[in-house]
Assembly symmetry: C2
Homo-oligomer: 267 residues x 2
Amino acid sequence: MNEPARPQVYLLSDGTGITAETLARTLLTQFEGLHPGWHLRPFVRSQEHLEDIFERMRTGPQPALVVATFADATLRAYLRECPVPVVDIFSDHLQQLEQVFGRKAESVSGRAHGIGDMARYDRRIEALNFTLAHDDGLATGDIGHAEVVLMGVSRSGKTPTCLYLAMNYGMFAANYPLIPEDMTGDTRLPSSLRGLRGRLLGLVISPERLAHIRESRRPGSRYASLVQCRDECLAIDEFLYREHIPRLEVTHLSVEEIASRVRAQLA
Amino acid sequence: MNEPARPQVYLLSDGTGITAETLARTLLTQFEGLHPGWHLRPFVRSQEHLEDIFERMRTGPQPALVVATFADATLRAYLRECPVPVVDIFSDHLQQLEQVFGRKAESVSGRAHGIGDMARYDRRIEALNFTLAHDDGLATGDIGHAEVVLMGVSRSGKTPTCLYLAMNYGMFAANYPLIPEDMTGDTRLPSSLRGLRGRLLGLVISPERLAHIRESRRPGSRYASLVQCRDECLAIDEFLYREHIPRLEVTHLSVEEIASRVRAQLA
């Protein structure tokens, strides 16, 4: 039986290669079960380095594909020498942007994921520190600075989503866990959160999915039992309804999908 | 004086829009000072929704540009009706991939940043939990599971980098802070880390940059003073040298750049 050869995907960049990898992985989602070999080659800043990579490709396994993001125009031009097909992001699209914006593109490496604008970078790190300090309702002193406060039961995805929002978008994201004791009968919003209406969002998850997630953390525990999960999900549902806090159904969503919906909702 | 109009960039996707945004922001780094208006339109799953967006574009400010990532071929075809220029990632590159891989692309929305492969997704969340539990040397019990342990002085970038590695690559990343008391004279590696050689990496930062970062956290403190930062940087340098731990110079690197170098170093 002749198995088709496993394709090799080379990610070449004069920067981190993050954009090349993001794009390549996105395109490859449309070829399920392909399982390519990945070759990350970031910070390629000379023709010699590039030629060295090409040389290995010539003798390496086939089929192979390059996804490249070179901001440097000279290195980009040198991609013509590449022995395997190249998806060349900058060459293919910069011209289109030049026409729309009415000016020439620059040719400067390392801007996309470098420190770049220092103030913007510092803000992202500051946001991350804020989010870590306000994880699980830890600190409440300066919670007024939060741009969004995610509420939900334990393991509904609050912490990863907040970290993602802070890390990638410099968003001051706090989370406030709702524990069963918080939600008996006529419980009201904690006073520290009352001034933040419009920034509060409840994450709602199905008891079955919640039990599954908790089970892998604490197998066989009461915490992970379906009965307990049902009680908590019901209680938070009532609480969010009573307090008129908008809810986001996250049962089948990834962290990225939740983050994207949170951003769209706040925009 | 006639200021050029601020361009509008629309990010359209039947998924999260993360790939579209990453690509657009990368391309736009080559047009410094452009300051476009950003319009994130994720989870567009119908022609009606798309037509509604086009309608607003027709009467909206110009110039405008669309960066689109539609996995769904029907929606992609409908981009022909778009009233402004479109960078259409899938249309432009899928064909090239089809040729290399020798098979047709599928046309399924929401795969790129969805939960997708559940095992792989769960691993990322597990990695994030591991990293949070091992932040600042907190837990050491199961540190043997770490794929990488970043060592460095306080505020050298260990925590954000570990979180980035865990979140985006499902990497079990722990960090171990080196405090001045740890590094007097003939200090040796803590026993819990001795079995992890090959996975240890020291982050090295200049005292000036370190003082700058600490100053914004604790202004005027001894902790942020240049003298203190110099002492700590010197001590860790000696420690890493004595213990033969490879070092990564991070003074001018962003979290993404450090993460990319860590991955390349471990590959």
